[in-house]
């Protein structure tokens, strides 16, 4: 399943990039993230809660930065997580790339391409709903990111 999102952030590209490299801060922008612990080597462990109506899933897993190109301003993160209770797993690669829209005022565009696979019993249940939910969540994540970066700058 492939998802694409864009967010526009009123901040210079360098600042946005710096923020993106702070994984715990970035992770907090994802809806439902409960905890993020660094494991070293650009690897982190965390929990994210997802609910669709009465269905409540808690995915636990690892996120790592698998690629980062400071010059091109692209980075990709990989997440592997599983929900033990219902028996489901998610494997996702999130590629983020920044481009400068303007320097005065500073505006940066963030593009996020997500390639995710939902597996196991959770995957048996309504892939279309999962896709919609994932789409919603990544969209919200993008919005939260812009807000968080804007807030950081305002400080």
């Amino acid at each position: 399943m492939k998802l694409e999102h864009k967010a526009t952030i009123a901040a210079p590209i360098g600042q946005v990039w710096a923020f993106l490299m702070d994984v715990p801060a970035v992770a907090k922008c994802a809806p439902g993230v409960e905890s993020v612990e660094p494991l070293g080597d650009d690897k982190y462990r965390g929990t994210i809660k997802v609910s669709v109506g009465p269905i409540r899933l808690a995915f636990q897993g690892d996120v790592s930065i698998v690629e980062r190109d400071e010059v091109a301003h692209t980075a990709s993160m990989r997440a592997d997580a599983a929900d033990k209770r219902a028996g489901g797993a998610v494997k996702a690669v999130l590629t983020m790339s920044l481009s400068e829209v303007s320097t005065d005022p500073p505006v940066t565009e963030l593009r996020m391409e997500t390639d995710a696979q939902i597996m196991g019993r959770v995957g048996e249940f309504g892939q279309p709903i999962i896709r919609k939910k994932a789409d919603q969540m990544v969209g919200e994540f993008g919005q939260n990111l812009s807000k968080a970066i804007a807030a950081g700058i305002a400080k």
Binding site: M1, G87, K91, Q117, M119, G123, E124, Q127
Partner: protein, 761 residues
């Protein structure tokens, strides 16, 4: 034997009362999932969530600690055990590597389903992703991930494996006919037409999920209740995989709750054997329907590339095709030599084409292993070939029926793969279309008619049946063909009675497991009436001779003069002497049972002129141009049949075949996303319901010239593969768009109409 005796005519023409009927309508017919064995454990399997990965480690300790869990096995415990129908390339449990999402990684046996489920969730597997390939053509490109880099250790059950130009091929075949340089013929053609067609994976949709009950008794005999439609085949496979001697394996597959090809491939029996070994307890495994849809052995997805040249008169002079079948991760589920899908040569199978070059590729990909489904591959070959033919006819300005009449095979012609036909009926069924349907009459707007001409081989194989005169004068017929609904028991009864010339009620047909009955090739390929029927004729003929001799002996009648006819023994010496069957048979049986074995092997038939059922469809549709929805208003199937033995069941098979083809044509698609099947219930993978089926009329073109008993042919999977093409051709006739991808969903028709209008939605 093609002429009907008086007995046969009388017996076959009466509507039958199916022998297994009372069991089936009362819920007493015993299917595998109904078998209860004391102390049985429940088996469950951990399936790979990934399409292609290296297994780094498996930790089963937490799973083993679950109360009620008696065994947790992985590939490391049982070793690399490969199974298959012809090519043994599928591991019972994965070792080091998984090649499709749904592959079995571990097996659990537990006291309850809950304990088994809990244990499955607690098995920790660490995987390392490997690059995957999902598409049949991409798998053959340079640099594609190789699924089986070293197939040299794989057992292959049919002699030497054919050459394969690429290691990612399960099977490959090139068929040529006529001119070696076919390009020269194409260059000389008046016109050349090219088309591409495709179809998705489809599921057999039997209502009974795979199940098995297996235990090993104190004498080390393995008892298996199975849904396998070829129990002797399963016995051989189990023996080869496990090393357990085949005489000490007994397989019972009496009733099968729907097959359609899907019960040819069984996979539960292998891990259940190891679970039974590990626990010393009987093992019961019943798949969920989600497991069936995710990891059964569905019909292959396919892409056809067709190219055909015609001369100025519209005669086909050259045909070239390439078919790419997506075989999935293993070739094990296919019973054909070289793991081929038999319909690869099928698109123009009913036409007299002098020059051909036909290639069939079956690829390994990281998707669910594919197997056979009713008339395997043929629905796609039919859709492609008959759409292509329709396209050519219309481009040439010829009536599609006339174009087919011009090019179809007649007596003495040979098909595209150089195959011969025994009394082909292509012309007869086409003439019936003209005569018996509304073909050619005026149409309302958005209405259209499509026609299709196809054939189906009657099926081959071997079988043996035991006929026995029992004490009390009944005749028992014992055979091992599982009952998947064709009515074979009643065929055996009627054929035996017709040969013996006794009241059919005297014949008691009994199913026997592999320990009791004699060798049988299993039900499938629509072969049963032909093969089992001929075995019955052989057995009944032999029994009849013995009974006539014995009657003379016990009654003191002149030897060589006694005839069994009209349910009586009569002395053919003009004396008028004789006696009722029951009396005389009773006296014969008092001296001991009399037994005859009927054996038949279709290999003894001439292969030069093979037997086919030809058939045609005429289907009228109405297309709703605003939504793309297609409604079938009239469907007529014209079928070339031989002698009909069970008239009710025969029509039932043709009815069922049409509706099966209707589902395949209109709605069925196993959706795959990144190697995972996502249509995981019968709520998502829809089968036709009562309310969806169109009106159907059947026209029989009958000639008792088949190779089955008394000139019978096949019935089971003849007409299903023509529906898609007939509907697609009718859509073209109605609204001008040609539908080249199955199923023919409203959305696809709508999108084609939008494209035709030049609009973009």
């Amino acid at each position: 034997m093609s002429m009907l005796t008086e007995d046969a005519a009388r017996i076959f023409e009466a509507p039958e009362y199916r022998i297994e009927g009372p069991l089936k309508v009362s819920g007493r017919a015993r299917y595998t999932a109904d078998v209860k064995v004391p102390d049985a454990l429940i088996a469950k399997f951990l399936l790979s969530p990934l399409p292609h990965a290296h297994i780094v480690s498996i930790d089963t300790s937490a799973a083993k600690a679950v109360p009620g869990v008696k065994a947790v096995l992985t590939g490391a415990d049982i070793g690399l055990k490969l199974f298959g129908r012809v090519l043994y390339d599928w591991p019972v449990l994965a070792v080091d590597q998984v090649r499709f999402a749904g592959e079995r990684v571990a097996a659990v046996a537990a006291e309850t389903r809950e304990a088994a489920d809990d244990a499955i969730k607690l098995i920790q597997v660490e995987y390392e992703d490997l690059p995957s390939v999902f598409d049949a053509e991409e798998a053959l490109r340079d640099g594609a991930p190789l699924l089986h880099p070293d197939p040299s250790g794989y057992f292959y059950g049919m002699g030497k494996r054919g050459d394969r130009p690429n290691l990612n091929l399960q099977g490959y075949e090139l068929v040529k006919k006529g001119e070696e340089d076919i390009e020269r013929v194409f260059a000389s053609a008046h016109r050349v037409f090219e088309d591409e067609y495709s179809g998705p994976r489809q599921h057999q949709g039997y209502i009974e999920p795979h199940a098995c009950v297996l235990w090993i008794d104190g004498d080390d005999v393995v008892h298996v209740y199975s849904v396998a439609k070829a129990p002797f085949g399963l016995r051989t496979q189990l023996s080869r995989v496990t090393g357990h001697p085949s005489p000490k394996i007994v397989v019972d597959s009496m009733f099968i709750g729907g097959d359609f090809g899907g019960k040819g491939n069984v996979i539960d029996e292998f891990p259940c054997y190891y679970l039974a070994r590990a626990t010393g307890r009987p093992i019961r495994s019943i798949n969920t329907y989600a497991e069936e849809l995710a990891a059964g052995a569905p019909r292959h997805a396919v892409k056809f590339y067709l190219r055909t040249g015609v001369d100025r008169d519209g005669r086909i002079i050259a045909h070239q095709s390439r078919a790419y079948f997506n075989g999935g991760a293993y070739g094990a589920a296919k019973p054909m030599p070289n793991c081929l899908v038999p319909a690869g040569v099928g698109p123009l199978e009913v036409y007299n084409v002098p020059n051909t070059r036909i290639e069939t590729f079956v690829s390994y990909t990281n998707t669910v292993p594919c197997g056979h489904m009713r008339a395997p591959g043929s629905i796609y070959a039919g859709h492609a070939g008959e759409g292509h033919i329709d396209h050519i006819a219309r481009e040439l300005g010829m009536d599609p029926v006339e174009f087919r009449l011009l090019n179809c095979v007649r007596d003495g012609d040979r098909g595209p793969a150089n195959e011969g036909f025994h009394k082909p009926k292509a012309v007869e069924v086409l003439e019936a279309v003209k005569r018996e349907t509304s073909w050619g009459r005026p149409l309302l707007p958005n209405h259209g008619r499509g026609v299709v001409l196809r054939h189906r081989h009657v099926g081959t194989g071997k079988s043996e049946i035991v006929l026995r005169l029992l004490k009390g004068g009944k005749i028992e017929a014992l055979y091992a063909t599982p009952d998947q609904g064709s009515g074979s028991a009643t065929v055996v009864r009627r054929v035996a009675a017709a040969v013996l010339s006794v009241d059919p009620e005297r014949i008691e047909v009994r199913y026997g497991d592999t320990g009791e009955a004699r060798l049988d090739g299993g039900s499938g390929a629509s072969r049963v009436t032909h093969v089992v029927g001929q075995a019955t004729i052989a057995g009944a003929t032999s029994l009849k001779e013995q009974l006539q001799d014995l009657a003379a002996e016990v009654m003191g009648w002149p030897a060589g003069k006694v005839r069994l006819e009209g349910d009586r023994f009569v002395v053919a010496d003009g004396s008028g002497e004789g006696g009722d069957f029951a009396d005389v048979a009773g006296r014969i049986a008092a001296g001991g049972e009399v037994e005859a074995i009927g054996a038949y092997d279709s290999n003894t038939l001439s292969h030069d002129e093979a037997d086919f059922n030809f058939y045609a469809y005429m289907i009228e549709v109405e297309v709703d141009p605003d939504t793309g929805r297609v409604e079938i208003l009239d469907a007529v199937q014209v079928v070339d049949v031989g002698t009909i033995i069970n008239p009710v069941a025969h029509q039932g098979q043709l009815d069922g075949s049409f509706v099966f083809g209707f589902g395949n044509a209109m709605m069925e698609e196993l959706v795959e996303q990144d190697g995972l099947i996502t249509t995981l219930s019968l709520g998502e993978y829809k089968l036709p319901t009562q309310m969806d089926i169109p009106p159907l009329r059947t026209v029989l073109v009958q000639d008792p010239v088949g190779c089955g008993p008394f000139g019978a042919k096949a019935a089971g999977e003849i007409t299903n593969s023509g529906v898609a093409a007939a509907v697609a051709n009718a859509i073209t006739d109605a609204v001008g768009v040609r539908m080249k991808t199955l199923p023919l969903t409203a959305e696809r028709v709508f999108a084609s109409l939008q494209e035709q209008k030049g609009g973009v939605i």
